[in-house]
């Protein structure tokens, strides 16, 4: 352990030398934090793109939906590919409606409750899909500073042991070990800060989308209910 942090005053304190001089534990922490950061940013990119696309498609769908087109035609065009949450909701409700029609089981209350259930299930599924991996951001946001701090504490511990072994308190000897240890905390913060910000932003986005979905589900349910009333 001590050999890993032999305190020879290095000529330069660059990022690479900071990493290479570090103890194996600190190295692992740094690498782990780097991967966490990569994965966080991947999730952020993916979610941002997904949410934007979802919002755009939902806007488009609502425009078509409220434009007075036949719901049957809309169902025909969307049933092949449901590429966003609202379309999935609509298709699920329509499918249930049509099945109830085909079997002729048109007791009003039964159809209504079945459709509501189907839409609830669909909303839950879509919510899970939209929120998936967001928890990882929250985890990284809260845990990464601690992981980095652990690396720092470990590195400083080793530094002090090496200082005691080398019996020199010259700052030029002491400083690189501490700098390299602090580098771990820097990486932890580097991973955690975007993760926290992105988690807050993305979870509020998800909530907006889900609220919108639920609003649409209620409205669609009202429409179907009115249709049922008219038929009877």
């Amino acid at each position: 352990m001590l050999e890993a942090t032999t305190l020879s005053a290095p000529s330069e304190v660059s990022m690479l030398s900071l990493f290479l001089q570090a103890d194996i534990v600190v190295k692992l922490v740094m690498i782990g934090l780097l991967f966490a950061s990569i994965w966080c940013w991947a999730i952020i990119f993916e979610k941002v793109v997904t949410y934007r696309r979802t919002r755009g498609r939902m806007d488009q769908f609502e425009k078509v939906f409220w434009s007075g087109h036949s719901l049957e035609e809309l169902y025909q065009s969307l049933s092949a590919r449901t590429n966003h949450a609202m379309a999935a909701l609509f298709v699920a409700a329509m499918r249930e409606w049509k099945r109830s029609h085909e079997t002729g089981a048109l007791s009003m209350m039964g159809v209504q409750s079945r459709i509501d259930k189907v839409m609830d299930v669909t909303i839950a599924r879509e919510t899970a899909r939209l929120e998936g991996r967001l928890l990882f951001l929250a985890t990284v946001g809260s845990a990464a500073p601690f992981i980095g701090l652990f690396g720092t504490v470990w590195g400083i511990m080793n530094s002090f042991q090496a200082i005691a072994a080398s019996e020199s308190t010259n700052l030029a000897v002491v400083a690189p070990g501490i700098a390299e240890a602090l580098f771990a905390t820097a990486l932890g913060l580097l991973a955690a800060i975007p993760a926290v910000i992105a988690y807050n932003k993305l979870s509020s986005d998800v909530n907006k989308i889900i609220t919108r979905l639920e609003g649409f589900a209620d409205e669609f349910s009202a429409i179907l209910s009115r249709q049922l009333d008219e038929r009877n």
């Binding site: 330069e12 990022m15 690479l16 950061s37 990569i38 991947a42 952020i44 990119f45």
Partner: protein
Amino acid sequence: MRVALSVSTVGHAAIIGWGLVSLNGVDPYDATMQPPLPIDIVSIAEFTEITVGTRDGDETLEPTPPEPVEEAEPVEQPQPDPEPEAVEAPAPLPEPVPLRTAALTPDDPEPVPDPEPVVEAEPEPTPEPLADAPIPRIKPTPPARPQPAVAETKPEPDQFNADNIAALLNKIPDSGGTSPATTGSLTPSLGTASGTGGTLTVSEIDALRGQISRCWSPPVAVLDAGELRVRVGMTLNQDGTLSRPPELLNPSSDPIFNVAAEAAIRAINRCQPYYLPPEKFHVWQQVNLTFDPRELLGG
């Protein structure tokens, strides 16, 4: 997800690569190198404990560097040496005089040798003749000596003991307001058998003064009174406690003086035990101190 992951990976790689290239170390602070100042740490005790010396002691003792010799100047008052020394120097030694050669053994048959004024940085004749021939120097006339030399006036070698030194120490305040630095430095010219200084060095006197002054709070009236010198003799045990109550050495009928004296004795009583080097117990067994309210505590 795959796209996002690759984008993220590439972004991180780019940032790290940029960091490796452009963050290649930080600029070192612009610390202008100060030219190193050579510093010799010289304790005062080196000058006040110059006592070890034997007849057969050779002068190959490592010569003290010139700086200390220079620094000795304020300690040793300029000594009016009657005769110019270079004249009678039989063999001027090129190297600076070892400080210790100033001390001769107590049983030196010679008349009391003038302790070589360390002030003189120029080559001194002394060490050689010390071994083989008596220094052809006229016995220095005692009256010509300045104040600090009082302490070493004719220290008859055989009677040299700690009490004597203590007695000499007691004389110092009488000799007219010498600075505390000279008080403790008796500049012994003769060695003692124990080899260590036969006197408390200034630093130890200071230590004692510091310990007492913590407890000494003279009344305000005393502080205003001006010229008040309370001389107190204290006798200590080996463990630093007082073996006898401190006694006032210059009693007076002045009430303010008595207040000051009481304050001083109270301080001495309250601050015991005192922590002084135990190997010099024979020196600080009996110590006389002068309390001067104006400098809070005069040695």
